[in-house]
């Protein structure tokens, strides 16, 4: 679905409309954060963050100046010259986040971006994301299997059915902002929402689970 919004894939039938325009190629107004690392291993942190503006024709000096600002905003000041393989997983995610946000996207697509991180780093990155997001005006489409993550971050949670994925139900998350991902989990409203959505999700999880069992036996 994110691939369709981004214009990486074109629909086999029908059409995709993003921000009022039909998607025919790459959606220029979108940013994308991938599940696995997609930062360029041969570019250092600064070059990675500056890549977007340079691709889009911003003069190199200007792009580098902007990139420096974004590197600092994601907390990587002092690491500008490091290559991705010299960074931790969480730091690489910060690079990817800065790389996407520097293009000032109107939509930020996130495909389970933090699923590969350990729990502590993940919480840290979620708070970081909320903080950075509150400074921009971008809409974020965040795909995750982690229900807590979904509720803690989102304004709306869309529950999809097991494959073929269709929209099952939408939940409005009216928890107050600014939120702290660590603390909000103990909010009674959070727990209520969690139970409610999980009730809905469980049947889909069971369907998917039974399928994998069947596939394993076949």
């Amino acid at each position: 679905m994110l691939g369709l919004i981004a214009g990486l894939e074109l629909p086999s039938r029908g059409q995709v409309t993003v921000l009022g325009a039909s998607v025919k190629g790459i959606t220029q107004r979108a940013g994308y954060m991938f599940q696995t690392d997609a930062v360029f291993p041969w570019k250092n942190v600064l070059q990675n963050v500056a890549a977007g503006p340079i691709f889009r024709g911003v003069p190199r000096d200007e792009a580098r100046r902007r990139a420096r600002g974004w590197v600092a905003r994601v907390g990587l000041a002092g690491f500008e010259d490091r290559y991705p393989n010299q960074l931790s997983g969480g730091m690489r995610k910060r690079v990817a986040l800065a790389q996407s946000l520097i293009n000032e996207p109107e939509i930020l697509l996130m495909d389970e971006p933090f699923s590969a991180l350990d729990v502590q780093t993940r919480t840290l990155m979620e708070n970081e994301l909320l903080d950075l997001w509150s400074q921009t005006s971008a809409s974020v489409v965040f795909v995750t299997h982690d229900l807590e993550e979904a509720i803690a971050l989102a304004d709306r949670v869309f529950v999809f059915t097991a494959a073929p994925a269709t929209l099952k139900r939408t939940y409005r998350i009216d928890l107050p902002r600014p939120r702290n991902v660590t603390e909000i989990r103990f909010d009674p409203a959070f727990t209520r929402l969690y139970e409610q959505i999980w009730e809905d999700l469980r049947s889909e999880v069971m369907i998917a689970y039974e399928r994998t069992i069947k596939a394993a036996h076949a």
Binding site: G3, A6, L8, I26, T27, Q28, A30, G31, Y32, F34, T36, D37, A38, V39, F40, P41, W42, K43, N44, A51, G52, F55, R56, Y83, P84, N85, Q86, Q99, S100, N103
Partner: protein
């Protein structure tokens, strides 16, 4: 009770482990030298005792003497450094031309499906030809000079680099391509900012092999027909039934190859500074 003495124990245990490690390294080094002494010494012994006729099998001490004589007083075919220089020049030329052609062709075919479909089978066919045979053709076409050796070296290096560059472009992480496209890369930028750097690690890893092939091309070319170069020295020594001369030229060639290999390693580090050192280590 449990903590304080443990620290001391740890110190001594660490020292013991370190000493064990040192002894181990020393043993390995000794064995390494031992193998060399056993082989070369055995060879020398066989030659001295007459178990292996030194006329056919050579003799290490005479080989060393031959190298020394060549180095100080020149070979029967002229000064040694001149032959080394000629072979090196041919090798480097063949290497540079072969790598350039291989990268360009591999990249073009990797990036363009039509080109790959049209030329792919021909490249594979070309690669299937035993290219050393081409040396004879090149000597007929290009004469006894440097050009025929360079041509042979190019045909050998080209394919190594070509297949690596081709594979490198094909194996680019699709995530990186998607990321670059969303960030706004044009097809041209995609080629030079994503595909090429990504393929570069494949290409650089082929440089060692291709430099070796360039050297083989030069030496075999000289062997087939030339009036200068290390391969020519081998051929001349062979013509005079001088086994020690053949071995002497071989030793010199090996030294040249080892030095060249070290230089290629440095080039590799320069080209791919982002790769961690651990990934580079080979035998």
């Amino acid at each position: 009770m449990p903590d304080a003495p443990a620290g001391q124990d740890l110190g001594t245990a660490e020292a013991a482990a370190e000493a064990r490690e040192r002894r181990r390294a020393w043993l390995e080094r000794t064995l390494q030298v031992g193998v060399f002494v056993a082989i070369v010494g055995g060879w020398e012994l066989c030659a001295r005792k007459g178990w292996a006729d030194p006329f056919f099998f050579g003799q290490p001490s005479v080989i060393v003497a031959t190298i020394w004589r060549w180095a100080t007083r020149g070979t029967p075919q002229g000064p040694l450094w001149e032959h080394v220089a000629v072979t090196l020049e041919e090798t480097v030329l063949a290497f540079l031309i072969g790598v350039a052609l291989g990268v360009v062709a591999g990249f073009a075919l990797g990036r363009n499906r039509t080109l790959a479909a049209v030329f792919g089978p021909y490249v594979r066919m070309g690669n299937a030809i035993p290219r050393v045979i081409l040396g004879s053709i090149f000597v007929i076409w290009l004469g006894l000079g440097m050009a025929s050796k360079v041509a042979l070296g190019v045909t050998l290096t080209f394919f190594v680099v070509f297949f690596n560059a081709f594979q490198g472009v094909r194996e680019v992480d699709p995530n990186l391509v998607s990321n670059a496209r969303i960030l706004g890369a044009s097809p041209r930028q995609l080629s030079f900012e994503v595909m090429l750097p990504s393929a570069l690690s494949w290409i650089t890893s082929s440089l060692h092999t291709s430099f070796g092939f360039a050297l083989v091309g030069a030496v075999v070319g000289e062997f087939i027909g030339a009036n200068r170069g290390l391969g020519y020295l081998v051929a001349a020594a062979q013509g005079a039934f001088n086994a020690n001369g053949v071995f002497a030229a071989m030793v010199i060639l090996s030294v040249v190859a080892l030095v060249a290999d070290a230089l290629v390693t440095r080039l590799e580090h320069r080209l791919t500074p982002w790769r961690p050192a651990a990934q580079r280590q080979g035998p």
